[in-house]
């Protein structure tokens, strides 16, 4: 069984592909259908950010285990312009492009763990984790 998928994100349609593959990978781990929707939605948000701000990047999806717990790790990586003020980007309603500004803070609320590292001129890396209950 494959427990890791790397999805290249270059275009609009890759956003749909990434969230589909995330759902497929997470399905056998024991998530509820709501949690699968949470995961797919969070992937959609971070994948869209890659297309919109960096143009291209990758999303790594990996099944993880910690003791009895099983979960999904999602790492969205790009070498785009980076985010100058991460704290501000994580605030509801903040956006530098014409979106809702809900993307990153929304994704954080949907997941159990969320971490973002960004450097201007270097790129952005968002790691998210969701554990099956």
């Amino acid at each position: 069984m494959t427990d890791e998928v790397r999805v290249p994100i270059n275009a609009d349609s890759d956003v749909v592909s990434a969230r589909r593959q995330g759902r497929t990978l997470a399905e056998p781990l024991g998530f509820s259908s709501s949690e699968l929707t949470f995961i797919a939605t969070a992937i959609s948000e971070v994948a869209r950010n890659i297309v919109r701000y960096a143009g291209q990047g990758t999303i790594l999806l990996r099944c993880v285990r910690e003791g009895d717990k099983r979960g999904l790790l999602i790492v969205a990586c790009d070498h785009g312009p980076g985010i100058a003020d991460v704290v501000q980007a994580m605030q509801d309603g903040y956006s530098t492009s014409d979106s809702l500004g809900m993307g990153l803070p929304g994704a954080r609320r949907l997941m159990d763990a969320f971490d973002i590292v960004s450097e201007v001129g270097k790129g952005t890396r968002v790691s998210m984790r969701k554990w099956a209950r």
Binding site: D12, S13, V15, V16, R19, R20, R23, S33, S34, L36, T37, F38, A40, T41, S44, E45, R48, D92, S99, L100, M102, G103, P105, G106, R109, L110
Partner: protein
């Protein structure tokens, strides 16, 4: 994937069949606004039953469609939001405020009919 738009009497019915890309959503917005004008529609129903996720962009686009068609005199009703989708929308903070919603297509049509009667009787 283009969303088919069906003209039924004074209403337009857009039935989303599958997951949509941001481009598909933008096309839907343009097509609906154009057709409301072209067919002098009084109501629009967008059936999102088959949508896999409602993220910030999808929800923003639906809101924009509802506002734009309202400016042209047509009422938009979003129908078929699934329970899991509703759960994730609330968690995300997406509320579709001020937008009419209904359980399914049938309820959506009743909602538009009620609205039509109300406008006529006023």
């Amino acid at each position: 994937m283009q969303v088919p738009i069906l003209k039924q009497g004074g209403y337009l019915i857009a039935s989303i069949q599958d997951a949509l890309t941001d481009d598909d959503l933008a096309h839907l917005q343009t097509a609906l606004v154009r057709q409301v004008r072209q067919f002098r529609s009084r109501g629009v129903i967008i059936d999102v039953t088959a949508l896999d996720v409602m993220d910030s962009f999808a929800s923003r686009t639906l809101r924009h469609i509802a506002y734009m068609t309202r400016l042209l005199g047509a009422q938009t009703v979003i129908v078929g939001i699934q329970p899991d989708i509703a759960f994730s929308m609330v968690q995300l903070g997406l509320t579709l405020e001020g937008i009419e919603t209904a359980l399914d297509l049938e309820e959506g049509l009743m909602c538009l009919a009620r609205q039509g009667r109300y406008n006529r009787d006023r």
